[in-house]
Amino acid sequence: MSTPKQITVTIDGKTCTGTAGQTILEIASAHGIVIPTLCYLKGLSSWGGCRICIVEIKGSPKVVPSCATPAMDGAEIITNSDRLIQLRKCTLELLFSERNHLCPMCPYNKGDCGLQHQGLAHGITGIRYQYLYPAMPIDLTAKYFGLDQNRCILCTRCVRTCDEIEGVHTLDVANRGIRNQIVVDLNATFGASDTCTSCGACVANCPTGALFDKAAAFRGPLASCQTVLTTCTECPVGCGLKVFTKENRIVNVFGDPDSPVNKGHLCVKGRYETWADARERITQPLVRGADGQLHPATWPAAIQRIKDTLAQSPDWETGLLVSPRLTNEAVQTVRKLADKFDRVAAFVAPYEAALCGQPEYAAPDSLQRLDEADAIIVLGARPSEDHGVVAARIRRAVRQRGAKLLIFHARKSGLDRYANICANVVSLERSFWKQVAETLADAQRPVLVYGPQAMSPIGVTVLERLLKSFEDKKEGTGPAVIPLPRSANSLGFGAAGLELLEEIGPWLDTKPMSFLCIVASDEPDGGARLLEERYVRPLLSEVDCLVVQAAYRSALTDMAQVVLPAVTWAEKFGTITNFEGRVLPVRPVLAPVGEMRDDQTILESVFA
């Protein structure tokens, strides 16, 4: 591979060096020269449409967009002539005249709007053109965000984001000229769209208030918030988060652009569901009284109640059942306290136990492998439902690089429509494998992503068959194998050596348990899904003393004798291990309002 050529250009009289192929804007930025932009965003393809980043090149009568023009060796570039400033001003004024940009009514007023920023930077206090006052619609049908066409400047950052980052291409521009409009699918609404994943990346990248977060609206400019970098704990991908808070409430959640895991991208869970959905929070310990109702109690009272109960019946069968969302530190505490209980286990997704194995099951740089793959096989996993950011990368590989996609799963998923082969795992025929072999014939960098369902009996058969089909290929072109569990800190549990349960019924049933502490931590459903398993509810109701440690109220907490309030991801401090094996920090962004404590503190204070 040849090293790219070094080139030298002059920008506003300053000598700048760069490499051949770099744009004028890239070289200017690297040398601290600021050129105003609107439609340009690092990480997206260059559009060259807003005409704000225009520069002059000596010898050419036309202005060129610096974000899209490769710098030529020896060029003399001016970024701030009177002509350019005048053109930028007039272009901005035309934008202000085009639609209804009413700053006082906009949540991005006072600092978060790119258009307002450029307007102020260019000293615009009024415009010389007539306002057009078009009647533009507003779409509020998406759950977490809205699209107000009145504020749109048609920069197409959202279109490019949806196409190039999330990979679904839900957004595009319809009509022509002054009637241009951003549309969802074929002129549907967000609520009716069957392609939109609600990842919110478009909202994050919109420079104006056209796309806006409902929960963040009118909470003040981002500059007035505190920022904390933490990690999402909804799934084992572990995306970096940049959380903005104000007065101890979350205002906005963005992806951390410096995180090597997600590079600033998030899915609907990390960006919205964890905090924007309304749930009932348990703020104090609750103890069931003689009247059979749960009553608020103090920590000492609640802890004493548990200790007394245990002391009274020393030969009770005791159990500790923990959520796989616990941080590594909480897991360590569980291990330490394990011998205080007759039985200790963690509940994981069906067939997931085999994936929550030893740390050596981790696949480092899995995401990079995905980014380079030219063939991706997804077996027994549904990234579009469970690991949104991984699904985005798979879609990008397919749509931008023409990678082949083969999906094997019993259940339908949102990724199916992008696949070359989509097979129901349950029914596979012999001729089918020939088709698979043909599809994979030219793959140089295949990747095999497998989820818990791959560990089911049929899944294992298919897995072995797939690996075998690669054996026939030549040396060195075998697939990179990426196990993708579902539970957040699955790998963190690997080292703990805890028993992993895919079903808790049998575990409860082997010997009747009299005391059970379920550490549901910050499970969004408060642990209620445990009750969906057959026989669990009656089995649990037979437990004499059920203690549930959870952040949110649920049918499970309603069954408990004692409920201990736990912190959520937003209040936790610790680490989790993502599916690549990276140990990622979880930092508190909010101070708990109430008596909530973190999982390890609760366990220590009760059982140590």
Binding site: W47, G48, G49, C50, R51, I54, V63, V64, P65, A68, T69, P70, M72, R83, Q86, L87, C90, T91, L94, L95, S97, E98, R128, Y129, Q130, L132, I153, L154, D172, V173, N175, R176, G177, I178, R179, N180
Partner: protein
């Protein structure tokens, strides 16, 4: 033995005026008279004088018949083919001497042209490849592939001085050389057949009348530049051209003149058509390429240029239909033959589409350097109806108007640019004293505003803003500051727009302001439209002297604002409710309706006592 060919012009213009019926009648009549073994009917492409259609050209006599109908055919056959005399009823007349023109050679419209690109148009049957071959078709390709090197071909094109006919006038040889130098393969060639300028139909004529010239030109270009595939991007609004082009492509493949290993060499070339979808902006080369790729037709900034990164990121060369069609004749007759035509800076000939207020509407091909006067008056026949020439609009919506004082300007790229206009692809719309220059500017801006792709604000919003200003001026609501605003907006749009559409959209405004500012001022200061075009500035008055009281105007008035004068057989228009539609003006057979635009000087005629027109119960206004 066939002793005579009757050429029926089958260009789109003559099709619309009914040449099919003429063709069928001819076939019938010739068979009936037993002449079908002696007289051959050939349907050709456009012969040029589209306004005179349907037209016939009889060879070997060279007799040209105009405005032929099916009913004329029996008499025509009797006179011309049985009795051997020209059928004088359908012969054209010389404008000056009023003599009948008996042969095509004597018809000024044809005689003063130099047909190089259109040499086969109107002569051969476009759906028969053998007729193209009979006229030396594909001979140039054969020679080039077997006896010349690619670099020789490029040198020949450079020497010929051929400049791109799409409007930019970039030297074709240099453009080909850039593609030839590109190190990446595959390379593509594109023929831009989008021809979106309103009133332009030069490319259409070539595609309908001589499609093989384009195919041969592209093959030669492919050999010279190393391209392996060609695309003809043709607008969907040209169904006849699409049909004829597909027939030509299929025939070329069948005869081994397209496809693999042409002329026994290892050069292969494929051509396919891609059909547009109704967007003027897709005539811009980067938008065109996006359209072929299946994306929204929006331009991309240049650099990178298509020769570096074009279709699907590969090196690509785009040329206009006329440019491609000129290539075979250059290679066949030599660059030095070709560059004797034209001027110092611009060699060869150009096809112009003459339209508007002109006697001979149609296509003309003349060498560069011919003056506007020679084209408009010499070949075009001047302005009909005794009206005075006012201006000629060249270059379509990207061009500008040129007034009478510059009629002696030789037509070439640089000279037209100096006048504020552009050559464009060759559209020439002639205007007379009845054309309003402000309305012309408004019309072209409306077009550009509608066709703007909308990617960049200067064009998307700027053209809308300019259009709003012009509409206000045409409606009599303009202010003098609006003229400064127009110029300011025009500068911004021209300078900041991303592509040629925006960069040239203000040209009609700028040139009309430059040469006809007084018309703008009349609209603004006096609320008057000197050409009596702008509706809101018109008044209709009934002239009592001519009015006979037939009431036809009143019966046609959509707002019922015309009343009968009590006691007289005269009518009167109540101006308050008049919407200036001109219906009364159109139906009056007695020249009793005065259409005027007096502006602020208008005096409303005194209102007599009125009564409703007979048979109507409309209320007489107070």
């Amino acid at each position: 033995m066939i002793r005579s060919n009757v050429l029926v012009c089958g260009g789109a213009g003559c099709l619309s005026s009914g040449c099919h019926a003429v063709q069928d009648a001819l076939k019938q009549e010739l068979t009936k008279r037993g002449l079908d073994k002696e007289i051959n009917i050939v349907v050709t492409g456009c012969m040029g004088p589209c306004d005179l259609g349907p037209v016939l050209l009889v060879h070997p006599d060279g007799t040209f018949y105009q405005r032929v109908t099916a009913l004329d055919v029996p008499a025509l056959v009797e006179e011309h083919f049985i009795k051997g005399r020209a059928y004088t009823k359908l012969l054209p007349k010389d404008e000056v001497t009023a003599n009948l023109i008996t042969t095509q050679r004597d018809f000024g419209f044809f005689a003063k042209q130099e047909k190089i690109v259109l040499a086969n148009c109107g002569v051969i049957d476009a759906e028969n490849i053998e007729e193209y071959i009979a006229r030396d078709g594909y001979a140039a390709l054969g020679t080039v592939l077997t006896a010349k090197k690619p670099a020789d071909v490029i040198a020949e094109i450079k020497l010929s001085g051929l400049r791109g006919r799409g409007g930019a006038g970039f030297p074709t040889g240099v453009k080909w050389e850039l593609l030839a130098k590109a190190p990446v393969t595959p390379k593509f060639l594109i023929c831009n057949a989008d021809e979106g300028d309103p009133g332009a139909f030069m490319n259409r004529a070539v595609l309908e009348g001589d499609p093989h010239a384009v195919l041969e030109g592209m093959c030669i270009g492919g050999y010279a530049t190393g391209a392996s595939r060609g695309f003809i991007y043709i607008r969907a609004e040209y169904p006849l051209a699409i049909k004829r082009l597909q027939i030509a492509i299929d025939q070329a493949y069948k005869y081994g003149l397209l496809g693999k290993n042409l002329f026994g060499t290892d050069f292969s070339f494929d051509i396919e058509m891609r059909i547009g979808a109704g967007a003027f902006v897709c005539g811009e080369e980067t938008a065109l390429m996006r359209s072929i790729e299946g994306r929204r037709g929006q331009p991309m900034p240049r650099p990178p240029f298509p020769a570096q990164r074009g279709l699907w990121g590969k090196p690509t060369n785009i040329n206009n239909v006329e440019t491609w069609a000129t290539v075979p004749v250059i290679l066949r007759k030599g660059a030095n033959w070709y560059n004797q035509f034209g001027t110092e800076k611009t060699k060869g000939t150009k096809v112009f589409a003459l339209a508007g207020k002109i006697r001979n509407t149609g296509l003309v091909e003349v060498p560069y350097g011919t003056t506007l006067r020679q084209i408009i008056f010499g070949i075009g026949g001047g302005i009909p109806g005794g009206k005075k020439f006012k201006a000629v609009q060249t270059g379509g919506p990207s061009g500008g108007v040129i007034p009478a004082e510059h009629l002696d300007t030789p037509v070439e790229y640089e000279s037209l640019q100096k006048l504020g206009s552009i050559m464009g692809s060759g559209g020439m719309v002639v205007m007379d004293e009845d054309s309003c220059m402000v309305d012309v500017a408004r019309f072209f801006l409306e077009f550009c505003c509608d066709e703007s792709c909308g990617k960049c604000p200067p064009c998307r919003v700027g053209t809308k803003q300019i259009l709003n200003l012009l509409e206000r001026i045409c409606a009599g609501e303009g202010q003098m500051e609006d003229l400064d605003k127009l110029e300011q907006l025009a500068t911004v749009i021209k300078d900041a727009s991303l592509c040629g559409l925006g960069q040239t959209a203000p040209n009609p405004v700028l040139t009309t302001l430059r040469y006809f500012r007084h018309e703008y001022e009349a609209h603004i200061k006096e609320k008057r439209c000197p050409a009596r075009v702008c509706r809101e500035l018109l008044t209709y008055t009934i002239h009592y002297d001519n009015c006979v009281g037939c009431s036809i105007c009143a019966r046609n008035c959509p707002t019922n604002t015309i009343f009968k004068v009590k006691g007289q057989k005269k009518y009167y228009i109540v101006e308050d409710d008049c919407i200036h539609c001109g219906a009364c003006f159109d139906v009056c057979k007695f020249n009793a309706i005065l259409k005027a635009s007096d502006g602020t000087a208008h005096v409303v005629p005194p209102k007599p006592e009125l009564e409703p027109p007979p048979g109507r119960k409309t209320q007489v206004p107070a």
